[in-house]
Amino acid sequence: MSDSTRVAHGTADSLHTGGHEEHPAYLRHHFENVEQQADAAGFAMWLFLLTEVMFFGGMFTAYLIYRNWYYPAFVEASHQLNVVWGTLNTAVLITSSFTMAMGVWCAEVRKQAGLVLCLVLTFILGLAFLGIKTVEYKEKIEKHHVPGFHYSLKSFTNPQSDPEIYKEYHDKPLGVDMARHTEIYFSLYFAMTGMHALHMIIGIAILGFMIFRARAGAYTSGHVTFVENFGLYWHFVDIIWIFLFPLLYLISRHAN
């Protein structure tokens, strides 16, 4: 055993149970069989998503604490977000999760055209989400609600200066000390949605790569691991948004 000059594969070994019929090109040499490889990859992705939960968790913790401390500021700052855009974005992402799940199914049943269509739809919906986010961010920039960049307290010390929002919610004017705390809300808003958007951008980039590979038939010949695991990632990014939406947009939307 100590001086073997024979480079052995698991499959070339007669002791290996039932190994020789399946040695597809995508089976990495350190795995015994395809099942083990797929199992390991899926497990790794779930574990990675767990690290992502911890990553976003720090910001959720900060949000929890500051919302508890500065509730009036969070309420009025939240009113500055457009709930129509937010709801639309939520619908867009949920739909994209549906199209992604359909894509995974298509890969599993080897429907190449279906897979490509689903990936393209997911791609477009992802871009739509980012587009809507851009519109929202632009609005915030125009109203000077970006922390650190000429942040303005006017909308909160004098809500009537913002007629459309005032008409809906009739917010009371905040004292300057409480109004200052809206900057913390927006810090968390930009940090959380920004980090989320970064994950979306990475996902969309990978989707682009996957569309290219799917058209070449890479995922519809039995090796669906990549699509499946990317699906997990995409659903995770969706779930983060499902938490962000009510926490950021829906704090207290009834009219006063």
């Binding site: 055993m1 100590s2 001086d3 073997s4 000059t5 024979r6 480079v7 052995a8 698991g10 070994d13 002791l15 290996h16 990495r28 040499h29 350190h30 795995f31 015994e32 083990q36 199992d39 390991a40 497990f43 790794a44 574990l47 990675f48 767990l50 690290t51 992502e52 911890m54 990553f55 976003f56 968790g57 720090g58 910001m59 913790t61 900060a62 604490i65 500051y66 401390w69 500065y70 500021a73 922390p147 650190g148 960049f149 000390d177 200052r180 705390h181 900057e183 913390i184 810090s187 968390l188 930009f190 940090a191 980090m195």
Partner: protein, 554 residues
């Protein structure tokens, strides 16, 4: 009966196996683009040693400055940068990756009977992230350094220093991901790639220790990452999340920072404890006493380790009741470590003990970690923490556990598995000398610091009242001895690559799967998939196997 268990092949005829993971492919690209866990481990070993020496030089500068009470060797600002960079490099670029990324990477697939880790490309990515982070850290040093302390407390780090906080933060962020990917890889491998017959309770304790450390890496490090992001945002655009004038809270930073940084210390020590389990078993020729207890205590340390972070914040104005909870949990997390020490001690009982270099380092670990761990209890009991915290007592405590503990365990492991990794033995006499020199130097360096701490000398002081000088001089004298102790292995281990004796498969007659194959191993580790049909540390199985082996031809 000889007093060594080393059995080497006949040196006149023995050769390093012609085909092994080192000779399989040639050329720098075959190393830089490798997926082989063993090659990646070697890459890590070289880079970690490099960073250790940078961190060590910075330590030397610290001790030189502290020879005199005045801040006279370097400007105070420079001293502040020196101890900051010493901490950052030693923690993030040496201690955290040391055993996992070198020994863990090399050995876990071998110990499990697997051909590689589950995700070889991620493994290589992990090394590149580490190198990128390390180069960025060096760049930071070269362009002015950072002087926030390795704990980069806000608001000092966000609003009151104009040094390279952002680049350092970025370096630590990237190094964090290197760590996460290593841990992720280990967990998947341990769950999914054990060879047939390798149940959880037949795994070596080294693997259990790495499993526990990997849980911490995977769950804790992301919180550090997001903390760094928030500090960067606060520093650049002033988002105010830790700024009291904007309604933020600097104590929130403390919670987020220590939520990772406490588990980090267990990330650092658990793999070292795994090494000790292996060496103490081999050099007593006995199964580790209380295998199940040691395995579970590793996991217990990992779990409890997540719930004690605020013991770093006892005097910061957190509520008295929070202090009660965290102090109690800290006492609980101390118990599994005590269990391990006793289990290792009783592994010696009725064993057959020899004192090769890894065993010397092991004994050093047990004594010094006991002291370091017990002084941790001094700090965990909230009342005494008030007097001892933020003094040299803390410095002594963590150096005892990290240097007296972890670094000794790392050296034990390097020496123990050196023959497996390189095919050659290190020179025994000089390595024993180095171990003793290190032990003596260590005690001279760090024991006086306990006394400096109880006397009240604060940490991170460039200048100090003259009455503390005598103890500081002792400490610096010890440090020079310690430096010699660390330099020697570099020299003789490098020497052994060319001139060391040929080790053969199993110079230590050890029981692990890694010792049943050639040294150095083949790229694919095992020619045929092994089947684990015996318990871990089964010396009877080893004895039977040796009887059956043919050792002489003709």
């Amino acid at each position: 009966m000889s007093s060594t268990i080393v059995v080497l092949p006949d040196q006149s005829t023995a050769r390093i196996p012609k085909v092994n993971f080192i000779t399989k492919e040639n050329g720098i690209l075959s190393w830089l683009l490798t997926g082989d866990h063993k090659r990646i481990a070697i890459l890590y070993l070289i880079s970690i040693t490099f960073f250790f020496f940078i961190g060590g030089s910075l330590a030397g500068l610290i001790r030189l400055e502290l020879l005199t009470p005045q801040s006279d060797l370097m400007a105070t600002d420079t001293y502040n940068k020196v101890f900051t960079m010493h901490g950052i490099i030693m923690i993030f670029f040496f201690l955290v990756p040391s055993v996992p990324a070198t020994l863990g990477n090399f050995l876990i697939p071998l110990m499990l009977g697997a051909k590689d880790l589950a995700l070889p490309k991620i493994n290589l990515l992990s090394w590149y992230l580490y190198m990128a982070a390390g180069i960025l850290a060096i760049y930071t040093m070269a362009t002015g350094g950072v002087d926030t302390g390795w704990t980069f407390t806000t608001p000092l780090s966000t609003h009151y220093v104009n040094t390279n906080v952002l680049t350092t933060g970025l370096a630590v962020f990237i190094a964090g991901f290197s760590s996460i990917f290593t841990g992720l890889n280990f967990i998947v491998t341990i769950h999914k790639m054990r060879c047939p017959g390798m149940t959880w309770f037949r795994m070596p304790l080294f693997v259990w220790a790495h499993y526990a450390a990997s849980i911490l890496m995977v769950l804790g490090t992301p919180v550090l990452a997001i903390t760094i992001v928030l500090v960067a945002l606060e520093r650049t655009i002033g988002i105010g999340i830790f700024d009291p004038t904007k309604g933020g809270d600097p104590i929130l930073f403390q919670h987020l920072f220590w939520f990772y940084s406490h588990p980090a210390v267990y990330i650092m020590i658990l793999p070292g404890m795994g090494v000790i389990s292996e060496t103490i078993s081999t050099f007593s020729r006995k199964r580790v006493f209380g295998y199940t207890a040691v395995a579970f205590s590793s996991v217990a340390i990992a779990v409890f380790g997540f719930f004690v972070w605020a013991h770093h914040m006892f005097i910061m104005g957190v509520s008295n009741y929070a202090v009660l909870v965290f102090s109690l949990l800290t006492m609980l997390v101390a118990v599994p470590s005590a269990i391990k020490i006793f289990n290792w001690t009783f592994t010696l009982y009725k064993g057959s003990i020899t004192f090769e270099t890894p065993m010397l380092y092991t004994f050093g670990f047990m004594g010094l970690f006991t002291i370091g761990g017990l002084t941790g209890v001094f700090l965990g009991a909230s009342g005494t923490d008030i007097h001892l915290t933020e003094t040299y007592f803390i410095v002594a405590h963590f150096h005892f556990v990290m240097v007296g503990g972890m670094l000794m365990a790392f050296l034990a492991g390097i020496h123990f598995w050196w023959p497996k990794m390189t095919g050659r033995m290190y020179p025994e006499k000089i390595s024993q000398l180095a171990a003793v020199v290190t032990f003596i130097g260590f005690n001279f360096t760090f024991f006086p610091q306990f006394i400096l701490g109880t006397l009240g000398m604060p940490r991170r002081y460039a200048a100090y009242p003259p009455e503390f000088q005598v103890l500081n001089v002792f400490s610096t004298a010890g440090a020079s001895i310690l430096g010699v102790g660390y330099l020697l292995p570099i020299l003789y281990l490098t020497w052994s690559l060319k001139y060391g004796e040929i080790a053969g498969d199993n110079p230590w007659q050890a029981t692990g799967l890694e010792w049943q194959i050639q040294s150095p191993p083949l790229t694919e580790n095992f020619p045929i998939t092994p089947i684990m049909d015996h318990e871990a540390y089964d010396y009877d199985w080893l004895e039977k196997k040796r009887e059956k082996e043919v050792t002489l031809v003709g």
